[in-house]
């Protein structure tokens, strides 16, 4: 065993000195490889952090949301619907909700205007999200003007600002009382945006959702588990973001692997020929090449993962955040909480280290099994 380890160390010594002879090429390869791993790991860390956060935070989302659809579009529902929903066996409570979107031409941003179940402010008052306060330069006590459906303006006194730590869920919220909401959007009494149901037994949610659509065929019921699943799919392995970055990384790897697999440089072939001529076995050459692949890919993996960790959790996603922000002028500012799963790191390892190491072995095996004289002459 000791002899084996010593042998491997000598091989590693030789590999490192061989890599050092082509310092420029190998360092640039290491840099590109590290950046590919860092880009992939950044997206993985970020999406995983958001997915876990969504799962933890949205556990308190309504158990069942019922929308009315009219001609394929979300429509307002009448209060008799709320009564009918409350009458379904297994429903503990049904409540009509009022919420909608308000376009603010001053900050050129969309706000989510919402009436909480028990709004704690008075009529004419609003509680605004930190993002809204930032976009409009508001502080508690200031006035917020919103354009109403009738062409006039609704002036609201800012009662308080939702704490900054809640930006991830509340950056664009404007919380108002029912009268102000109906006045702002011109929605007559007796109509609601949607309804939320509290269910007696959580395991019966699917059954109750089926009862809802049987009772009200133009209704659409959305359970809490579907809300959570939405975020799993938005930030899952199959999500657009991951696919876009993964595709880039896979292509980059494809080029590197193809370059490696399509042949060694003349210098590398000569080196293998000389090694064979002075008595190296084919297995020694392959072990040396395996060490070469492993040394580069392990170093790139470790550096890439460390860079990604620093970028996402310490550097506030400085490089990826502009991509994620989109068109909106109102953006939530938040620092992702580091949730890193071991299996994701293992998958990243398998996707990056193994293919590269394998790609270095194939052409070396071809050169190492050929006649040393022919290899040196070619």
């Amino acid at each position: 065993m000791r002899t084996f380890l010593e042998r491997q160390r000598y091989l590693l010594d030789y590999t490192l000195s061989s890599l050092a002879r082509r310092k420029g090429k190998n360092l640039s390869l290491l840099a590109v490889y590290t950046l590919v791993v860092a880009a992939l790991a950044s997206v993985l860390f970020y999406t995983q952090a958001l997915r876990r956060e969504a799962r933890l935070v949205l556990r308190g989302a309504p158990e069942l949301v019922v929308q009315r659809l009219a001609a394929g579009r979300h429509d307002l529902l009448p209060d008799r619907w709320v009564g009918a929903l409350a009458g379904i066996r297994g429903v503990a409570d049904a409540r009509g909700r009022l919420w909608g979107y308000g376009w603010d031409p001053i900050s050129r941003a969309n706000y989510t205007v919402l009436v909480p179940e028990a709004f704690w402010g008075a009529r004419g008052e609003a509680v605004v999200g930190h993002g809204v306060a930032r976009a409009r330069g508001l502080a508690a006590g200031d006035r917020l003007l919103l354009r109403a459906a009738d062409g006039g303006y609704l002036s609201l006194a800012v009662r308080e600002i939702v704490p900054e730590e809640s930006e991830l869920v509340a950056a664009d919220l404007v919380l108002v009382g029912e009268e102000d909401f109906r006045g702002l959007f011109g929605i007559p009494p007796g109509l609601f945006t949607d309804a939320v149901l509290a269910v007696r037994n959580e395991r019966e949610v699917d059954t109750i959702a089926a009862k809802v659509t049987r009772l009200l065929p133009d209704a659409r019921a959305i359970g809490r588990s579907e809300i959570l699943r939405t975020y799993d799919s938005v930030f899952g392995w199959r999500s657009g973001l991951v696919v876009v970055v993964l595709l880039g990384a896979v292509l980059a790897f494809g080029i590197v692997a193809w370059d490696k697999a399509s042949g060694l440089s003349a210098e590398e072939r000569r080196e293998i020929g000389i090694l064979k001529a002075i008595g190296w076995e084919t297995s020694d050459v392959l072990a040396m090449k395996a060490w070469e692949g492993a040394a580069i890919s392990l170093a790139a993996f470790a550096l890439g993962v460390l860079l990604a960790f620093g970028h996402v959790f310490l550097g506030d996603m400085a490089l990826l955040a502009p991509v994620l922000r989109g068109w909106s002028t109102l953006q939530a500012r938040f620092r992702p909480v580091p949730f890193v799963e071991a299996w994701e790191l293992a998958a990243l390892f398998l996707l990056t280290v193994v293919p590269y190491t394998a790609a270095t072995l194939v052409p070396s095996w071809r050169a190492a099994t050929a006649d040393p004289d022919a290899v040196m002459r070619s």
């Binding site: 590693l12 010594d13 949205l58 989510t112 950056a171 919220l173 659409r220 470790a302 109102l330």
Partner: protein, 93 residues
């Protein structure tokens, strides 16, 4: 010092840094648990359904409440809200 010793020591240092990152993540999760709890409490109190990630369109602001047609309700043949529209796939239903 042998090259292999230097390399193995650097690799060990990288592994130690990765372990430190894992410990940092753990400490950060514990330290910021009240912050997550506050967000969860706000979600429960207001009956919120979505994270506020992209505010430019209805189907990106509330992906869980949107349907397949939502992206096209803004206007027919709507220009994609890039890049968030590319990041948030069409709802499953």
């Amino acid at each position: 010092m042998r090259a292999s010793t230097r390399f193995l020591l650097s690799l060990a240092a990288a592994v130690a840094l990765l372990a430190a990152a894992a410990l940092h993540a753990r400490a950060e999760r514990a330290a910021r648990a009240p912050e997550i709890a506050a967000r969860a409490a706000l979600v429960r109190r207001l009956g919120l359904t979505d994270l506020c990630l992209f505010t430019e369109a209805r189907y990106t602001r509330h992906p869980s409440q949107a349907d397949r047609f939502a992206p096209f309700q803004d206007h027919p043949g709507a220009l994609e809200h890039f890049p968030s529209g590319a990041l948030v796939p069409a709802p499953e239903r």
